[in-house]
Amino acid sequence: MSFRLAALSLVTTLSFSGAAAAQSTQDFDVVGTIPSVCAIDSPALSGGGAINFRGLNGTTLQVDQLADPATLATRAASARVSFAAVCSFPHTLALESESNGLWRDAGAGVPTGFASAIPYLAELTWGPVTGRLQADAMSRRTNQLNIDIDQAVSGEIIVDLDIQAGASNARANAPLIAGAYQDTIRITLEPQ
């Protein structure tokens, strides 16, 4: 009788341990990170509708004929420049005109009645936002537009540049004094 009890006890113990290990599991984690990234590609002339622009040379956009040869007043010019870009987090776009207009290189004084700077308008589109930067050439200074974008955006930053016929920092249709006129536009994507 004592032998039989011992045997039964042994069988019961084995049965319990077997049920506990009929299945075995191992878990793994797969982890990574994505840093806050903003990137802007080189500019490209897009849309095929550039008027009175020679095109892009590297990052320089050159007006073909800045002055009307008959009146010496500003000729109209327009172009669309695009930049492939991406920002993987909420960010700020800054569009900056370094001189607030196309300004003639430093040189001799400006005779009365002549213009030495040309205003222009830059309109931008970036994902869900649009903005306008009026470089009015009323003073030579930095003019900057900041736009907060509360989401990641990828695609193209589109900048439409528009120089009106006859535009100047003097009166309308004022003749442009001879010289090279230029401005530098900077586009920056940065954390808010």
Partner: protein, 182 residues
Amino acid sequence: MRRVFIAAAVWASLAASAAAQDTDQAGPIPITGNAPTFCTVGALQGADNVFDLGILVDTTTGLLLQSLSAPPKTLTGAFCNTGSTISISATPIEAQTLTGAPPSGHSDEVDFTATASGWTDVPAVFSTANGANPQATQTRATPFAGDIVVSIGSFETAGGSSLRMLADPVYRGSITLTLTTN
């Protein structure tokens, strides 16, 4: 002559009675045991159970890196003492702090494929991009002991490869490997 015969018979009877008192017998007693069905995935080699992919994107484009990889992980000493089934499942690698749907053109999820090989002739494979994963479960009819190697690969941006990945300090997915007796 008659007396002699009786005396011999009595002696023989007494001898038989003395033997019954010294030995006894019980049984036969059957001794039975049951070796239970048993599986273990064995011991995980290496420091931890984490596949660390590092930075997931090309920081100049924001697109998922095509070169993502992580070393496989090995489970040594796995065994089953009967026929068994190995199955693997996984969840996509998701941004852990972002909320809401990603803006247009973006994704916050990476699909991948997890593979468990070494246990069955055909590896168990689970792809988080697939709605159904019939290859994720494989069976073998015989007991087996050996190593199981778990690897990951075939990383894809959920929603399409043209989508940019959203920034997030922690992206996380998971894999579960299970051995079960048949």
